[in-house]
């Protein structure tokens, strides 16, 4: 223990300037960040935005400087022939990082929670500790890289290389089969957990053995593990397990049926998707949702399209992610993207189309109706909200993570002067759905207090929200998951090809 404290004190003496600068930046951040929680933008909020980028750099610098104060690379460092015990040296560095990055950040986060009007509760402290864990993992990666590089210059080059790697990873990930993210919690966690565990092992190895070439090679191998995990993930098995077919005698949460073209009747059709990816042909059969229970909402987390053509031809898109919200009695156009060659082959022959959905069922009974006021007002389960200057936005401040919600208001109930209240049809309702943040008890970042803008624009430039206007917040609660599908026999794809090239905004009625 004595050696740990002794090395720690030496590092403090050596790096006091860097420590002071980092703490000063953090203090200024805590002072300026609350200015970002409302309108308009001020110099203070600009400072906070700038510091959001600068603070991680200051921590990076601290980590690199403290690790490389006893550099592990090379054979000329004076300390390698002195009675340092590697475990104590490592512990001294961990103590330094905890003392001058983690603890100040913890204090800053608790302060911001308090300033944001969110007193620390057990749940909020748990969220803060989760954020600390996430930052500790980031710092672990930085410390590992610092342990295998000779100085800040080389470390900077490595960081640039990591940037290139992240870009490459994103590109290559798109080429791998994707699956449905909500069904793949374990593989998604492993993509991070395995490399992080390997980083920890490499860092310990480097401190114990100072075999830099081996450590660097191991890091390159670590970078490959996300690809390996992605390639080895059994997407179909995981999806079948997470979204089972309804058991015998049990109804699916909804029935989806096909509406052939030219079917008469006045229907509002929801258009799914807005842009056509370059070079692909879009087929849009019309589907109808029925059988959804009252106070229920369906979310299609994933979909899969299978085509059977003449001569035994089969095409399978595989399961892919989706974010389609379905309501009872809703008509919508489902977009299928096909390569031009495939479309040309099948466009004029009758084919069998099977569209499958992996769906999550939500109960929407929990609502909270509030009358908007000029002053800040609380929204249960969400946070503290206020009207924007434009009067068609609500800006809400929340702690740690965003719950999923649906915000709805209606022009007929607006208390703003000049708003057209003629007609009380549901079509005058404005509804915004925000999915929940799903990766742990807190969003990653420096601040635990976030803002979100709920825009209730109604297509005119007239303000919709004034003091007294009611807004209903619904908080969907997940109740189950299942798969369902619709089969369409004898469909001719050319009849359902989307004609316009500009894309059609969601919600447009025919």
């Amino acid at each position: 223990m004595k050696q740990i404290i002794h090395i720690f004190r030496k590092d403090v003496r050596h790096l006091w300037r860097e420590i002071a600068a980092s703490l000063a930046l953090l203090a200024i951040y805590v002072w300026s960040e609350p200015a970002t929680w409302g309108y308009p933008e001020t110099a203070r909020s600009s400072i906070a935005a700038f510091l959001t980028e600068l603070l991680p750099i200051s921590w990076w610098l601290l980590v690199v400087r403290v690790v490389q104060d006893e550099s592990l690379v090379g054979d000329r460092q004076f300390w390698v022939t002195r009675p340092y015990e590697w475990k104590k040296l490592l512990a001294a560095k961990v103590l330094f990082i905890a003392a001058f990055v983690n603890v100040p950040l913890l204090i800053a986060q608790l302060s911001l929670l308090w300033l944001g009007g969110f007193p620390p509760t057990l749940a909020r402290v748990t969220g803060i500790l989760w954020m600390q864990l996430m930052w500790a993992l980031v710092l672990l990666v930085l410390a590992t890289l610092a342990a295998v590089t000779t100085g800040i210059g080389q470390m900077t080059l490595v960081m640039l290389g990591i940037g290139a790697y992240v870009a490459l990873f994103s590109f290559l990930s798109d080429l791998l089969p994707q699956g449905v993210p909500r069904a793949e919690g374990i593989p998604n966690a492993l993509v991070y957990a395995v490399p992080l565990a390997m980083c920890a092992g490499i860092a310990v190895w480097q401190y114990a053995r100072r075999q830099t070439a081996t450590a660097r090679l191991a890091l390159v191998g670590t970078a490959l593990t996300p690809f390996l995990i992605g390639a080895a993930t059994p997407h179909r098995f995981l999806l079948d397990r997470a979204y089972p077919e309804p058991a015998a005698m049990q109804l699916a949460p909804a029935q989806i049926s096909f509406i052939p073209m030219n079917t008469p009747g006045n229907r509002s059709i929801y258009w799914q998707g807005t842009t056509r990816p370059e070079g692909l042909v879009v087929i849009q059969p019309e589907l109808h949702v029925t059988g959804l229970a009252a106070h229920s909402m369906l979310l299609a987390d994933g979909n899969r399209v299978e085509i059977e053509g003449p001569g035994g031809f089969r095409w399978d898109s595989g399961w892919g992610p989706d974010r389609l919200r379905l309501h009872d009695q809703e008509y919508f156009r489902f977009s299928i993207m096909l390569e031009p060659a495939l479309y040309e082959r099948l466009k004029d022959v009758p084919v069998k189309l099977r569209i499958s959905f992996a769906m999550t069922d939500f109960d929407t009974q929990e609502t909270h109706e509030i009358d908007v006021s000029e002053d800040e007002f609380p929204v249960k389960n969400l946070g503290l909200c206020g009207l924007s200057n434009h009067r068609w936005d609500i800006t809400c401040r929340y702690a740690l993570r965003l719950p999923g919600y649906i915000a709805a208001t209606s022009a007929t109930q607006s208390t703003c002067p000049g708003v057209d209240r003629v007609g009380s049809s549901e079509g005058a309702k404005n509804e915004i759905w925000q999915p929940a943040y799903e990766s742990g008890p807190a969003e990653f970042g420096i601040t635990p207090v976030h803002t979100i803008n709920i825009s209730m624009m109604n297509g005119t430039n007239k303000p919709l929200l004034c003091a007294g206007t009611p807004v209903r917040f619904t908080f969907p609660r997940e109740t189950g998951r299942a798969r369902t599908s619709v089969e369409i026999d004898g469909i001719q794809l050319s009849d359902y090809r989307r004609r316009d090239d500009t894309g059609v905004p969601a919600g447009t009625a025919r």
Binding site: Q3, D75, R76, F78, T81, P83, E85
Partner: protein, 309 residues
């Protein structure tokens, strides 16, 4: 000719290597080094540039590992030399990177707690003896002063083994003297391994010498014995003698001009060498045997090695 006062050397060995090999990619730095340093010795490891001296020392200090072979230091496998084992070893190297941001007094104060046997009085004595400026940063010191600070920090805890890698490199004679004096004072209680090109200083200091060339130890012996067996031989004849093709292996760098023949005898024994001269070259008008300095011996060995290659 220098006079060396021999200390009694016990039979135990402080450093032992067994067929030590170190390869760096295409370069074979050590080619089966077998070295023994007896306890209490001041052992000088000499050799030309690139001979493998620094490599051997770094393996002994576990700064990096060997490709194959074994090394033992203070009875311990050199791969185990770390942590507490280093409290018994003092190491100073010409190219070791010191923490240049720290003052001399803070540097010594920082190292003190690492060594249970640190002697404050000895530290103060060394500071006075080496005239170390305690209030200056290591980065502000001259090279010689930095070496003195490094030496003070390596001697203050009375290590059982002192390892010095080129400690005199680039230092003026006064600083060298100061360093040698400090080391000699410690020689009573420690074994010293020193690698150096500075043969004049080594000659006055070392009790043993090992000559390393191309990763192998050409010889390793006590200094008096080494100096004793090397002679420059000059033979003057009445007429130019016929020099036979086959000469004793101990005769090095033979040259002849007119009636004079010169060579280096590396296994000098007056009676035997004189007899060999008579037998091989005939009766001479005069024969002189001149003792050689360590530098001359080193040069003869180096040039002879180059000629053989």
């Amino acid at each position: 000719m220098s006079t060396i006062t021999m200390k009694p050397v016990t039979m135990s060995t402080v450093i032992r290597t067994d067929n030590l090999v170190k390869k760096f990619r295409r370069v074979d730095a050590l080619n089966g080094l077998n070295l023994e340093v007896p306890q209490g010795a001041i052992y000088a490891l000499v050799g030309p540039n690139g001979a493998g001296k620094t490599t051997a020392i770094k393996i002994l200090m576990n700064i990096f590992g060997a490709t194959s072979g074994r090394a033992e230091v203070l009875g311990m496998d050199s791969k185990q030399i770390s942590g507490k084992a280093l409290t018994s070893i003092g190491y100073v190297s010409e190219n070791q990177q010191l923490p240049n941001w720290v003052r001399v007094d803070a540097f010594l104060a920082y190292l003190r707690p690492f060594y249970p046997s640190w002697d404050r009085e000895l530290e103060n004595q060394l500071v006075r003896q080496l005239a170390l400026p305690l209030d200056r940063k290591l980065s502000d010191l001259s090279r010689g002063m930095r070496m003195k600070a490094a030496l003070a920090s390596a001697l203050a805890y009375r290590p059982r083994l002192i390892v010095l890698d080129e400690p005199f490199s680039g230092l003026d004679p006064l600083v060298r003297d100061e360093l040698i004096e400090s080391m000699l004072e410690r020689a009573e209680e420690a074994t010293i391994l020193i690698s150096s090109h500075d043969l004049a200083e080594i000659e006055n200091l070392a009790s043993h010498v090992g000559y390393l060339d191309q990763g192998r130890l050409r010889f390793s012996e006590e200094m008096p014995a080494l100096v004793e067996r090397f002679r420059e031989v000059e033979i003057t004849f009445d007429a130019a003698p016929a020099v036979p093709g086959k000469l004793p292996a101990s005769w090095m760098r033979l040259s002849s001009s007119a009636a004079v023949v010169q060579f280096i005898e590396s296994q000098f024994d007056e009676q035997r060498t004189s007899a060999e001269i008579r037998n091989l070259l005939g009766e001479a008008r005069s024969v002189t045997f001149t003792p050689m300095s360590l530098r001359s011996i080193f040069l003869a060995m180096a040039k002879s090695g180059r000629d053989a290659a």
